[in-house]
Subunit: 265 residues, 2 copies
């Protein structure tokens, strides 16, 4: 049976709340996900939380009730608490009725089986966790196998990234790697590395993409370092019609990924 | 000559800072933009701020110095201040070296001259100001004429929207309208209204788009209301390959807008 928790000072409440902080996430190896939708997505992908917290309203949905029971049956912890305490844990004024802590998956290149998908997204030093989550969501929608985060990137397990991923964190493979390690791994098998660049001469619409294709997206401010561009098998540009010289990183990833998929039809 | 301001309690500092709040933006008819890039974009588009604040470092760039002088020559106010005070005004730990307040443009359907562009983006009840800014940025890049915001949407003049727009707020036309007014206006001239829907039977890749095309994007949570879908000349779907049943709103706008442009080449 789930425990009833009414105190902000409760140890589990404090522990869940601490997961909004990167250091605590790392130390615990856990991350927070909020809301029925993402928790149901996790369940569909065979993942149960280690801790689940919910308001009485949150437990009413059959999927929620089932996940709470399954979490306890698997030795996890379930607490029933108030909307106020859920708000405190999620840092939102209008919190979800459910909140759960999941074990972080290993995020190494070993997780990436390139034969599983014709398309993979690779992103370099992304700063905005919302972009990481949005790219994961896009990857799921477009049928990519997963996301490889290069160099110093924002934390894909941050609350903002998890929110933006809308559950895709549970369906997309994820790896975090340094550039030389990624490059060594990439060249140990088949794969076309495609970068986008303002200086490229190939129009992204007039290019042939081969499978497995690794789509490389640069940092929000600087784009791709020159040395990285030099390693690409193909550099393409998305022609800009207006004043701006670039797209939002998650938008660029989506425009390219959807076009690459369309080119294969 | 710009005044030196060293006090947080200075009236101009307080006024600029207040523009982070929607009520104050409305009452003043102003909005905040931060950083050399967007201020230069505004200048290129023939727009000067009414107030500009900068640190000594911020005034060093020739474009900044020129904008500061032009602002004063046009009767605007320029203040030189500290990085600390700029941080207070922008609400960021790492503030830009320049910050400026611009008059909000009128945002009515009268601003939209549909003959100016083959493509317009229309978004319904967007909640996330970052999505609004990102869609403006995408619109600029793809050669859209502007953005029409339907119903109760987040404020396109919020700091977050302005940031995400990366200057496109100054290059894209903008209108805010209720659905019946928009529909009356739309049907008073030429225009294909294209909505995206999960239930649509037309694949977005196998459809003919006619100019001027009005691309209609739904709210982040609910998508388009049924009554709005019923008014569309064309409903298309973006096939989803994975678990998720939708894309981020700004991503959906970009995938559609770039595909529509590509289909016209």
């Amino acid at each position: 049976m789930p425990r009833q928790v009414t105190a902000f000072s409760n140890a589990t409440v404090k522990r869940l709340r601490s997961l909004r902080d990167k250091k605590a996430r790392r130390a615990e190896g856990l991350f927070l996900a909020e809301g029925l939708r993402i928790i149901a997505e996790a369940r569909d992908s065979g993942r149960l939380p280690e801790i689940i917290a919910f308001s009485p309203d949150g437990a009413r949905h059959p999927l929620a009730a089932e996940t709470i029971a399954a979490t306890e049956a698997a030795g996890g912890e379930a607490i029933e608490t108030s909307a106020d305490i859920l708000a405190k844990m999620s840092g939102k004024d209008n919190p979800q009725l459910l909140l759960a802590a999941y074990r972080q998956p290993q995020a190494t290149l070993k997780q990436i089986d390139r034969s599983r998908s014709p398309l993979w997204i690779v992103a370099q030093a992304l700063r905005d966790p919302g972009n990481i989550g949005t790219i994961l969501r896009t990857g799921d929608a477009v049928g990519a196998g997963g996301l490889i985060l290069l160099d110093d990137s924002a934390d894909p397990f941050s609350v903002e990234a998890v929110r933006a991923s809308m559950g895709a964190l549970f369906t997309q493979a994820l790896a975090i790697a340094r550039w030389p390690d990624f490059l060594g791994w990439l060249r140990s098998g088949k794969g076309q590395l495609v970068g986008t660049s303002l200086e490229a001469t190939h129009d992204y619409l007039e290019t042939e993409y081969t499978q497995p294709c690794f789509l490389l997206i640069g940092n929000e401010q600087q784009g791709l370092p020159e040395a990285y561009e030099a390693e690409c098998d193909l550099l393409v540009k998305i022609p800009m019609a207006g004043r701006a010289d670039s797209l939002n990183a998650a938008v660029a990833a989506a425009v390219m990924a959807f076009h690459i998929r369309a080119s294969w039809r």
